[in-house]
């Protein structure tokens, strides 16, 4: 398995605040990697730096062979992003949204049209293709958001709180899609969520962040072992112990 993302001393400082503090780790190809931590711990800043949207104060990262500082556009070419608030155009229909992003990805018209139809089918929205995003339920938007992040068939997918505000049924559907993308299509997935059970079920490895620093990294059994968690302890309890809450 080769490295998809290599992070070296990534740091971001805003005035007095160090949002991300000398973070270093690797993410392997085909891995579902969980990035956990309380609000404001630096998860989203890390993600935005990996996409070249925020310039690091110090350090760098190599995303699928492209340096995020020297070649941010190159880094973005291999990453698909789904943000916590989905980030689609409310006045446009599902199909118009995907067609727009396909055109931005430099796909030829016929290829773009076929890709859009395929993605709508993948996320179960073929029948809703002409429905405006503004009238869609949160779960439908989230599925459409996954389709958007797949438009240019990226090797790496960044899913920032994809399960936020979705009902259990929608969460289960989304989990199925994410697993399929990783296991069947070999995509590398960075996954952030506050739903620790979801992280427990989905992620191959997890990094726990606190005040801009990575305080623990490994598989969930490794994390449990490091902190001497009892066999019956929920992952939530393990996480809270890392955060120093319990």
């Amino acid at each position: 398995m080769s490295t998809a993302i290599e992070i070296n001393g990534l740091t971001k400082v805003y005035g007095e605040l160090t949002a991300v503090d000398h973070v270093s780790y690797n993410i392997q190809e085909g891995e579902i990697f969980g990035l956990l931590g309380p609000n404001g711990c630096g998860k989203t800043t890390t993600i935005l730096m990996l996409l070249g949207l925020i310039i690091p104060t110090e350090g760098t990262a190599i995303v699928n062979g492209a340096d995020i500082v020297k070649d941010p556009i190159g880094a973005r070419r291999s990453v698909g992003l789904l943000t916590d608030n989905v980030g689609l155009y409310e006045n446009l229909t599902a199909k118009q949204n995907l067609a727009f992003f396909a055109e931005l990805s430099d796909l030829k018209a016929t290829e773009a049209s076929a890709r859009v139809d395929k993605l709508l089918a993948l996320v179960g929205l073929s029948e809703k293709q002409n429905v405006k995003v503004s009238t869609m339920s949160r779960g439908m938007r989230q599925r459409l958001g996954v389709a958007q992040s797949l438009v240019r068939d990226p090797k790496i997918m960044v899913l920032d709180e994809p399960t936020l505000g979705i009902d259990p049924e929608g969460t289960k559907e989304l989990r199925g899609i994410i697993k399929m993308l990783s296991r069947e299509q070999g995509k590398t997935i960075i996954f952030t969520s506050h739903l620790l059970n979801e992280v427990n079920r989905l992620c191959d490895r997890v990094a726990i962040m606190k005040t801009g620093k990575v305080i623990a990294i490994g598989t969930i059994p490794e994390l449990r072992k490091q902190i001497n968690a009892a066999e019956g302890d929920e992952f939530e309890e393990v996480f809270l112990r890392y955060q120093g809450v319990v």
């Binding site: 556009i73 190159g74 992003l81 409310e90 006045n91 931005l104």
Partner: protein, 323 residues
């Protein structure tokens, strides 16, 4: 260029599907059509009497009545003046309504992060968004103008000479630049202000400043620096305007895009002026070349203002971090 056109196309779709756009466009169309219709009727009824009066004067002077072009002269400027004023009022609002949430609206919904996560350079985003807005205002202006001028020509019987067509074409182009300026102001505010509600408020303040505040401030400052005094001479009284008054007032008022727009368009549409000569009134034609010479400083200033506003929006946007 491909990315710019893609974003511009998306902007078109987005703007045309918004109710606020349809509402303001409808208002602009109604206001302009009604004022143009009134202008055409008044032009038509005044045409014969004014023409006869001037021909009479020129006959007394020994000139030829045929040489005087009164029809497309003062009439065009006077009768289209309400269309100009209304366009300056509602056209500015429409351009601001299109652009006030261009960037911060996308930041709020999160679509800006999604958009920027694509392998596209940032400058293409701002060019595309501005181009999309420009296409919309061009379509809006073209529809409004064609309908307005159609009504004007149809009801007034104005002959469409080459000179008239050129002047109306210039009127259209200047109107586009005017709307492009407000489009740029809205874009800049949407970049600088974090919330669409704040940039909407700021846009309305800019608009009010342009149509009312700046011209009034210009008048007040000119009055303080060069007071206009009442003068008495024998049995008659009048106002004496010091030389500097008009200069100061003009310079300050020029800061308002609306005042400058109306000034340029009135210059363009005025094809003749009345002139005293040997105790008689004569009408002197103003050629298109003369009009352009008179308007050139204003037009250059207008174009400069447009470039400066867009450049400010561009530089701020390019340096902004997404958080």
């Amino acid at each position: 260029m491909a990315g710019i056109m893609t974003i511009a196309k998306k902007e078109l779709l987005d703007i045309f599907s918004e109710r606020k756009f349809l509402l303001i466009f409808g208002t602009l169309l109604i206001v302009v059509l009604v004022s143009t219709f009134q202008g055409a009727i008044s032009y038509s009824s005044s045409q014969s009497t004014t023409g006869m009066q001037i021909r009479g004067n020129m006959t007394q002077l020994g000139g030829s009545g045929r040489a005087i072009v009164i029809g497309s002269a003062e009439g065009l400027s006077n009768t289209l003046s309400s269309m100009v004023t209304n366009f300056s009022l509602v056209g500015g609002v429409l351009a601001l309504a299109i652009s006030f949430d261009t960037i911060n609206g996308e930041r709020q919904t999160g679509s800006m992060k999604t958009l920027l996560s694509y392998p596209i350079y940032r400058d293409k985003i701002i060019y595309g968004k501005y181009l999309g807005g420009l296409i919309v205002v061009t379509i809006v202006s073209a529809i409004t103008f064609l309908a307005g001028i159609g009504i004007f020509v149809g009801f007034s019987g104005l002959p469409m000479t080459g000179d008239t067509v050129m002047r109306l074409g210039l009127f259209f182009l200047i109107s586009l630049v005017y709307m492009a300026i407000f489009l740029g102001v809205g874009l800049l505010l949407s970049i600088v202000m974090p919330q669409p509600s704040t940039s909407l408020l700021a846009s309305m303040i800019v608009w009010l400043a342009s149509i009312r505040l700046i011209p009034n401030i210009g008048y007040a400052i000119a009055q303080i620096m060069y007071p206009v005094r009442m003068t008495f001479s024998g049995n008659t009284s009048g106002f004496s305007t010091p030389q500097g008054f008009d200069s100061i007032r003009t310079v300050i008022s020029a800061l308002s895009p609306s005042t400058t727009y109306e000034q340029i368009v009135n210059n363009i549409l005025t094809t003749s002026r009345l002139q005293f000569s040997s105790g008689n009134i004569a009408t002197v034609s103003i050629s298109l070349e003369q009009t352009l010479q008179t308007s050139a400083p204003y037009i250059i200033y207008f174009a400069g203002l447009l470039i400066a506003i867009f450049a400010a929006a561009y530089f701020v946007f390019m340096r902004q971090e997404i958080r």
